[in-house]
Symmetry: C2
């Protein structure tokens, strides 16, 4: 059962963080020469408040804290619970990311030393230019830009390549943002069917291209495939598909929303023309953030600079990139990416271990009779779609809380992130949990099953 002491200590941690922000505000309102009497008094009072919070934090005893920020509750889920939410796992900030956000929260905080040519990815202090080079290297591509979310990366490419009515090949398991990125460019999606195991193959992609060619008389302008899809997180044959793309002479966009930042991604090896990743989904960054990487050749097209000239003033805005609308992430979004990056880069080497934990966890779940894994098995990813229609849902059928009984039981054990109320098919993600947390969570599932008399193998 959850520790009440820990809960109070978490509250006190937030209370102290917030009190420090109050203290920080006193500095902001004061003169460089030092405090006025009133400010000194505020400072002393706040410091005393912090002191007493600290003693409660240490002992875990004291009054519960009210950490509301206006109409907002302080979000303490990541501290109080084990979070198995399908899309939140790899977007949790690293401690470095959180520190960067504290330091660089203010609006245009990246722009202190912006100099000619006045473009975000050219700023050297903080080392944003270097980070862009690191990003490109990390993905083994030639150029990279940060973008406000993976979807904005797709959009840069579709709007640069696709004309009205033209076709774009996507997967039948494609994320909705790919649909929208094609639609906003005026294009039309053409879906590659999955095979019986819900895998998108190179062969099926080639057949789909032929079909589009036959029906429309034109080749598709772009192939955009998720390495792992959002529905099952099954692995699709991006290497084979990239080969097919080359054979047909169609550019290939690798959607790495579920890979870039958690596992090694080698753009050259894949043979991708474009790689898109998500900062808030898989790179431990503040939303909206992401990365779009490409080759020098394609960069000329998708990162083309403005050609617009003021008809009257003859103004031109030099190196500003049209599809990025100039600068993209001018604040804490980018700085959280940069601060988290060393750890993010390092953690991709532990991907196999993450997959092992995922498989271990699901093996425990499968012990509960009537439970199934709908994703490919064994797992090659930490995101998984499971089916508990034959197990937990049989309880929900007669429980007065219906499917919420399951959420209640999980929550009582300090676990959240399942889709509340769902006991048939639902998704979970074990990414980043320690082995202890994995085992604890698996035991909790078995414990709940036992409590309700479900059979366990």
């Amino acid at each position: 059962m959850r520790s009440l002491k820990k809960e109070l200590q978490i509250q006190k941690t937030y209370e102290m963080l917030f009190a420090l922000e109050d203290l920080r505000e006193i500095f902001r309102q004061s003169l460089p020469t030092g405090f006025s009497d009133k400010e000194q008094e505020d400072f002393s009072n706040t410091a005393n408040r912090i002191k007493s919070i600290l003693s409660e934090l240490e002992t875990g005893e004291g009054k519960p804290a009210c950490n509301r920020v206006g109409c907002l509750d302080a979000r303490t889920r990541e501290e109080e619970f084990i979070n198995i939410h399908p899309i939140q796992a790899a977007g949790r900030l690293t401690p470095e990311g959180r520190k960067a956000v504290i330091s660089y929260g203010d609006g245009y905080s990246t722009c202190d030393y912006c100099r000619k040519p006045f473009r975000l990815d050219k700023i050297t202090r903080p080392p944003i230019e270097e980070f862009h080079q690191d990003l490109a290297k990390f993905l083994n591509m030639e150029q990279a830009r940060v973008v406000p979310g993976a979807r904005r990366g797709f959009q840069v490419v579709t709007q640069s390549l696709v004309e009205r009515g033209e076709s774009v090949i996507v997967s039948a398991l494609a994320h909705y943002t790919e649909f929208l990125a094609v639609e906003v460019a005026g294009g039309v999606v053409k879906e590659v069917p999955p095979d019986q195991e819900n895998i998108i193959t190179a062969e099926a992609t080639a057949l789909k291209i032929d079909e589009v060619k036959a029906k429309t008389g034109k080749l598709p302008k772009l192939i955009m495939i998720d390495h792992y899809d959002y529905q099952f997180a099954n692995e699709h044959d991006v290497h084979g598909i990239s080969k097919v793309a080359r054979e047909y002479g169609i550019p290939f966009l690798y959607n790495g929303a579920y890979t870039v930042g958690v596992m090694p991604v080698d753009g050259k090896k894949i043979g991708a023309d474009f790689i898109v990743g998500s900062g808030h989904k898989s790179m431990a960054s503040v939303a909206p953030s992401g990365v779009l990487a490409t080759t020098d050749e394609w960069a000329k097209k998708i990162f083309r600079t403005t050609q617009m000239v003021g008809d009257l003033t003859k103004r031109k805005f030099g190196v500003k990139e049209v599809e990025n609308l100039g600068c993209t992430l001018m604040g804490a979004t980018l700085l959280s990416m940069i601060a988290s990056f060393p750890r993010v880069r390092a953690r991709t080497a532990s991907w196999e271990e993450e997959v092992k934990k995922s498989n271990y966890f699901l093996e425990q779940l499968l012990k509960i009779q009537g439970s199934n894994v709908l994703s490919e098995w064994p797992r090659r990813h930490t995101l998984t779609k499971v089916d508990t229609t034959g197990s937990f849902d049989t309880v929900a059928k007669t429980h007065k809380r219906r499917g919420f009984f399951f959420s209640d039981e999980l929550k009582e054990r300090g676990i959240i992130g399942e889709f509340a109320g769902a006991t048939r098919t639902w998704k979970l993600n074990t990414y980043g949990l320690t082995w202890e947390q994995i085992k604890y969570t698996a035991d909790a599932l078995l414990d709940i099953a036992k409590k309700y008399g479900l059979s366990i193998n």
Copy 2:
């Protein structure tokens, strides 16, 4: 001169914030049931560290702290200095904004309670839906959406309204992002000339429309004018221009990047079809963020929902908005906007006082002979372009540090944000400074002038 004690105390504040993040990470790695022995030890050590930082913070004595986060310096400019940076002033986070960012930094932190229809602006916990209604009301418009920066708001409108080769009326003082938003939609900018006082008038706008009509045979598709421009922050006749727009039947986009969040903006009164504001420029929010508001009538067009249907699966993605690519600001960007909003809304009532401070400050600058204000005078805004060619630049001409002498002198007095090295024409913004800070900064300028023997009236 700057207080060394204050500087150390600021370092200690950051050091403690960072130590608290280390503490927070221990909670994140632990089980809901409580700490392991190792975790308890880490916790105690960190708590002890915090205790000793606190005592140094209180006394202002102790070792300087190294608050680097990997390759990043902690950004302490806002605490250590008075910042007169032209675009940073109104984007500084409120204390509430900073607390929200601490709570909601993690990637998809807005999505804990996302339920059908699965769209950001429909989420009720945290109260995102309510915030969207508040935003629309705040601007006296019917609908509002948050967007990743004002530029993305322009883009939504241009891409919805403008076809290839069509004209968009902008100001000859238009921001580059307006150029890009027109270019990315395939349109062409047509600039309205300013009058002799660098003001865009209704009459000049009407003449430009006539000229475009005569030259191209078609009316422009959109008029997009900055209420206050980025170059001089002069006030342009948006009310008159909106009337002209109605007379010609052309939709009018009010660019409020320098107004929404600092002064009252009434969309109905202006007669705007679209209002765009910037979160990180004027609404005390994390970048990239902004707002796009419109009427119910125009919302149907610019916020149109997806019509794309998967050719194979027949999938459709319901209420997702094409131009917004679904959800826009799914994390700390939005939460900082929400948390800062009550204070942002309230502060617009103090705009006249802010303008008074701006004018007072510049009156002091003008006492230094050879100094000029290039923006309209008296000021109606806190952002101003000044010309010190006849004053500080005369010193720079012979100083071994050239124009940097001025930055050095300012910095020594705890003032930053001027364009380092610039002593001819440069911009500054006094927004949000207290009267004490304003007077201190004005005195500093006079003091520097005296030091170098410049004449003072």
